[in-house]
């Protein structure tokens, strides 16, 4: 992770605000400075430049009046008012103005201004001295009568006053023009500074606006977009869909949040995986609660432990049951096997007895013998059946069994019976199933034998074998047109040695269907029947397609 990326969002927001505030501050400073300069300029203009120009104007008029009244003094003997005005000009107006201009000139900035003003005052003072001389020479009316004095005064006017005044006015004009230039310059400066201020305000406003827009877009991008993604993922988690965020993880708060959510998602996934494994009874799957406060994780663990315990107890029980069952089977097997040995001897001797002594005893004895013979032969059948029943599935291997072949063999074995009863047996093409071949054959044999055995007395038996493929098994149906079975017996017929009919009516030990049931149980199939008395019977059973 680069250092640039590890700036936190908090820092970025602060930085953004700092930039904006700085821009405002710069703006304020620039504006303030500009305004200050402008204020100084305008104060200078109003307090120095304009009064100076005004004063210089007054100075010019004093110059002109002075020239005019001096000339009048010489040529108009009775112009007493003008003489007074000239005196006032000399003694009051000029000193006041001089003082005023001198004060103003302290603030003048134009180079050489004060110097030329000083020279101007000096020249004017010299002029005033000449004027005073003229005034003095023509003090009284009588002085006018002296032609020399008057001529002298007139020539002074001609030669001194007029040219000097003209020269002074020219110098003053130069100075005035200089002041005008200064004023012009100040005005221009003011204008341009105002324009600059406006421009800088506009530029700063644009910069601030752009920065603000950029900052808000940037913040949206780095905060809102990932938050939206996270919110959708958290919503998904609420619906049980565990996803992770495919987002460039940065070192900021959003990155932390993404990592937290991904971490949550990982942990949830681990918990879910563990739950799934426990569901599959894989109790060895590793799992640790996420923390000491992880109620879900701890509950899962205790659930697993309980399941494991239950499973163990069940398996122990199962094993016990299996052992018991095996013992029982073994018992039936050994008992039936050992029982038949003495029984054979009994029936052998009884038959021998019957053969040798029949008719030599009384009638009752013959009858007793017959009963003994028939009973012992029935017992032989019972014991043989029991033995075979207990042998179903013993020491056999699961293999693929072609039911067509099994049926064919059964039909061959039953050939005599089929011919004798004129049974019509038809079958669809049968599938290959996984099972015990001997047992499958016996299943067909028992069901077909039954179907023939329990036929109607006056109707030839007709047997139809059909098969339908179901999801994971084959459903066989063996339908006959026999005497049928009442509904209340549908369950009973599968119990060993249960019979519905008298032996003299239908022979048999009553073990055939319990054989079938045991064989089908062994193949993890189902068996049931549809039948009504007099309506024939359909035996249904299923066999697995796949290995058991």
């Amino acid at each position: 992770m680069s250092s640039r990326l590890s700036i936190s969002i908090k820092q970025r927001i602060y930085l953004g605000f700092f930039v904006l505030v700085s821009l405002f501050v710069v703006n304020a400073i620039v504006t303030n400075m500009t305004l200050n300069t402008q204020r100084k300029s305008s104060v200078y203009l109003s307090e120095t430049v304009n009064p100076s120009l005004e004063a210089l104007g007054e100075f010019r008029s004093i110059l002109l009046q002075s020239k005019m009244y001096t000339t009048n003094w010489v040529f108009l003997r009775y112009g007493q008012d003008d003489k007074n005005r000239l005196r006032k000009l000399h003694e009051v107006d000029y000193p006041v103005l001089k003082q005023k201009i001198s004060r103003l000139s302290l603030y003048w900035t134009a180079p050489g201004g004060s110097d030329s003003l000083q020279k101007l005052f000096e020249s004017f003072d010299e002029l005033l001295v000449i004027e005073k001389k003229i005034m003095h020479s023509l003090e009284r009316f009588s002085d006018y009568d002296d032609p020399v004095t008057k001529l002298e005064a007139e020539s002074k006017i001609e030669e001194e006053i007029l040219p000097r005044t003209t020269s002074l006015i020219n110098t003053l004009s130069g100075l005035y023009n200089k002041g005008l230039t200064v004023r012009e310059k100040q005005n221009t400066m003011l204008k341009s500074s105002t324009a600059r201020l406006r421009l800088s305000i506009i530029v700063l406003a644009i910069v601030i606006t752009c920065t603000a827009i950029f900052l808000s877009i940037y913040m949206t991008k780095i905060i809102i977009a990932p938050i939206k993604r996270m919110s959708s993922i958290v919503n998904d988690m609420g619906r049980g869909i565990i996803r992770k965020i495919n987002y460039q993880v940065n070192g900021n708060e959003v990155g932390d949040m993404v990592r937290s959510i991904n971490n949550l998602s990982d942990k949830l996934q681990a918990t879910a995986n563990f739950a799934e494994e426990v569901g599959k009874r894989n109790f060895k799957a590793p799992y640790k609660p996420l923390s000491s406060e992880d109620t879900l994780g701890k509950s899962l663990l205790s659930m697993r432990d309980n399941l494991k315990k239950g499973e163990l107890a069940l398996s122990v029980q199962n094993k016990e049951l299996e052992t018991k069952n095996k013992e029982l089977e073994q018992f039936a097997y050994v008992a039936s096997h050992d029982l038949q040995e003495p029984l054979r001897t009994i029936s052998g001797f009884v038959e021998l007895f019957q053969k040798r002594y029949r008719g030599n005893l009384d009638e009752n004895a013959d009858k007793y013998l017959d009963y003994i013979v028939s009973s012992s032969s029935r017992m032989k059948i019972l014991i043989t059946d029991l033995l075979e029943y207990s042998r179903i599935g013993r020491n056999r291997e699961i293999e693929s069994v072609d039911c067509n072949k099994a049926l064919m063999e059964v039909l061959l074995d039953l050939d005599a019976t089929i011919k004798e009863t004129r049974a019509d047996i038809r079958s669809e093409h049968l599938p290959v199933v996984m099972g015990y071949s001997m047992e499958v054959k016996q299943l067909f044999q028992n069901l077909i034998t039954n179907a023939i055995k329990f036929r109607k007395k006056d109707v030839d038996p007709s047997i139809r074998i059909s098969v339908t493929r179901e999801k994971d098994c084959f459903h066989f149906a063996i339908a006959d047109n026999g005497i049928g079975i009442a509904k209340e017996h549908h369950e009973r017929i599968f119990i060993i040695f249960q019979r519905l009919h008298n032996r003299t009516e239908y022979e048999g030990s009553g073990i055939g269907l319990s054989h079938c049931k045991k064989i089908i149980d062994l193949h993890k199939g189902r068996v049931w029947l549809e039948s009504e008395p007099g309506e024939g019977t359909t035996f249904n059973f299923t066999l697995q397609q796949q290995p058991l």
Binding site: H337, Q340, E341, R344, T345, S347, G348, F349, L352, T384, L387, E388, N395
Partner: protein
Amino acid sequence: MNQKLNCILVIDDDEPTNFFTRIILEEADCCNHIKTVQSGQEALDYLAQSEKPGADPNLYPSPDLIFLDINMPAMNGWEFLDEYRKVGIAPQHKIIMVMLTTSLFPEDKAKAGRSPEISGFENKPLTLEKLERILKTYFLDRQLRA
């Protein structure tokens, strides 16, 4: 049956069975001697005597046919066969051995089929029909020695 066998040896632990078999054999009148023993060991002892060179043919007649039961205490039919091979009794003529048993186990029948010494497999009780079939199968062309 005009050609009788010399001797038939019956091996079965059950005395009534032996008695019964003897009756059938006597009734069939197919041999000169009938010898019944009640254990495999007894049978081995008898054969040791009868097959010994220079044995007394009247005291220990050598059997032409042996009926052998499977389920016997101490030494069953199969163990008897093992011992019979082991002790190396060398009969001077071919002895036909037939399993006579109540066993309904197909395994037993299959095992009997695989044993070279065993010629036949019959279920008890022995009847005249079964005996006749055995004699016809194994002794039809046989010259009697006696």
